[in-house]
């Protein structure tokens, strides 16, 4: 292989690593928004998922000290990290994300609080909780813990394939099944759906739980496959996932394309060091703003066509629902 093709291959691998968490979180949030709820807590749920996935994997990988039980007996033994362990870690992350989402669901659906305010609070809560639990668990000045190699399927992580398979599945469920029709009905016009006898709040609550679980998986992917756990490890990916849904105008296929475009751009920006080693540090600092700048530009281009938004956006998105009593 020539140098160029090796470079391209590396770039593509990096792009997949960056795009998969975006895609997972965005798909979960897509279902939530289709049911008419705007959950701005994606970043917080990703962080909590990341922490719990990491803790679970860490505990499964090493049998730690039993000193409290047997004095003088301390054995730190490495275990082979199997595929089953990986699934358990992912389930832990998804559960943690869903539990945090349940808080959001209780406040917005049960108590009818403002979606935006609770969502922002959820992001702060996720960051605070993961920082405090993380420093409690690993100690304030812990050195990074190496989670064993993640099991791979066809040369890529299993979660990559899962995220790719989720795209057509979610499209099919939303567009072609009764369940999807109910979710969309609730999101388009909650009053009519309520009049038809659907339990709007309950359906939305389940969608919120699904979104939380997907965000938890996205966080787990970051720490299990890409980088080690540290405070604020998601670096704003949850917010980019929210922008991606606008970019994809609430369509799973477009969200997929958007996630990979973002991943590729982000990866090539990270590799600029190799391309232009002579560039100064100050210019690199400015270049790290590129993904955020790009998000703004894309949002502007998408939103300039109001028909696109109006045709695809769920009509009751973020509107308070007060059932007639």
């Amino acid at each position: 292989m020539s140098v160029d093709s090796i470079f391209l291959l590396k770039l593509l691998t990096a792009a997949i690593l960056l795009a998969t968490p975006l895609l997972l979180a965005a798909l979960g949030e897509l279902v939530v928004e289709k049911s008419g709820v705007l959950n701005l807590g994606v970043e917080g749920m990703m962080l909590i998922g990341a922490l719990f996935g990491y803790i679970a994997a860490y505990n499964l990988q090493t049998i730690t000290c039993l000193e409290e039980l047997v004095p003088g007996f301390c054995q730190k033994e490495e275990r082979v990290f199997t595929f089953a362990d990986y699934i358990i870690a992912l389930l832990a992350a998804a559960t943690a994300g869903a539990l945090l989402a349940a808080v959001f669901g209780f406040l917005t659906q049960g108590l009818r609080a403002n979606h935006v305010a609770v969502g922002l609070g959820l992001s702060i809560l996720g960051a605070g909780l993961s920082n405090s639990l993380g420093s409690n668990f690993f100690g304030v000045n812990y050195t990074s813990v190496q989670v064993a190699d993640h099991p791979e399927v066809f040369g890529k992580d299993a979660l990559v394939w899962f995220s790719l398979a989720a795209v057509p599945t979610i499209w099919y469920v939303l567009q072609r099944t009764r369940l999807g029709l109910v979710i969309r009905a609730v999101g388009e016009n909650h009053d009519s759906a309520y009049a038809l006898g659907y339990r709007v709040s309950r359906i939305r609550f389940y969608c919120i739980l699904f979104g939380g679980a997907m965000a938890g998986l996205a966080g787990a992917f970051i720490v299990l496959v890409h980088v080690d756990w540290k405070e604020g490890v998601t670096v704003g990916k949850g917010w980019l996932a929210l922008a991606l849904i606008l970019f994809g105008t609430w369509r799973p296929m477009r969200v997929l394309c958007g996630a990979y475009i973002f991943g590729l751009l982000w990866a090539s920006e990270l590799r600029l060091d190799n391309l232009f080693p002579a560039w100064q540090l100050e210019w690199k600092t400015l270049l790290t703003t590129a993904p955020y700048l790009l998000t703004i530009i894309v949002l502007v281009l998408i939103s300039r066509n109001p028909r696109m938004i109006r045709q695809n956006a769920p009509a009751s998105l973020g509107k308070p629902f007060n059932p007639p009593s």
Binding site: A113, A117, G121, A127, L246, L286, T289, R304, N322, S325
Partner: protein
Amino acid sequence: MITLERRANVTHWTSLRSIGIALIITMLVSVLVLFIMSDQPAQAIWQMLTFPWQGRRMEVQLGLVLQQTAYLATIAIGLSVGFRANVWNIGAEGQFALGSIGAYTGYLLLGSPETLWALPAILAAGMIGGCLWALIPAALRVTCNTNELLTSLMLVYIGGHLLTYLCIGPWKGDPKAGQAETYPLPDSLRPATLISGTELHAGLFILLVAFIILAAILLFTLLGYRLRVAQHTPRAERFAGFSPNNTVWMSFAISGAMAGLAGAVYMTAETGKLIQAENYLENFGFAAIVIAFLGRLNPIGILLAAFMISYVNVGASYIQAALRVDDSVADLIEVAALFSFLGTATLDQYQLKFTRTLRKSRGPEVLS
């Protein structure tokens, strides 16, 4: 089965009661958090409540609390203008950074003056900086219908990197410093300390004046009335001849200017120079969002909420030093307060009604 039922008459008494319930929930959760996070929970709770009197000088700790209160309340009241009208500016952190940059730009443009008379111009430059940065999402919202929530948030990250860039690149100061920073302002230019040894300085008075002016505008003028109309019924706003676009422009301009002023005062009084973003920004802009909602978007409520949160924040860092409790307890208490206040706000207009569950009958049942 518990259902919510709309209250027939809403009085001040009902909203006071729901605030009381929220405070009690917050305290219970805070005690729970301290019990989990600390080895000596009783001592942690006691020190958290009474930390200003634990040290040798009470005014030092109280000064820290009041200092934070001033910054948080100033930014939060600016944000509340937009939140009332459903305009979501969540980028106050970036506007704070740009306020600091604007102030330093003003200082350089004036030719690095040494007299205190240049300070108003420098602060004004900071206000303009924050205001212009906030007008970017406003302009995009008005012209291209872009979601202002996401754009203002993205501009936080961009503003932070811009600050770091300026400290590394064009305005790089002392290369021997442990962090990237600019050359400091002369001491003669910085607001004077009021009580020696404390963090109370004249800059906080400027923030207080700005807060009072904006609070008076919101409470007593036609402009404030117009914003309250926009909050409750967007349709009525249009019937009354107020343009939604103007509301967007105005709320972003005001919140940006307030955050910019806070940033400018912070730069001149606390640090005296610009520092790379990680060591400079203290998340005031994000905490202010929480405070705006805790205060129910009401100026007096915001002041009380800012004091409460600052007290918790400073107390958390006190017990971190004294008892080795991680200071992220402050974040957890802050969010517990936010959620209980948001959750109980519903009880202002609705009351809980306990009803017996009506079981769905599946076809006619035979009575025996």
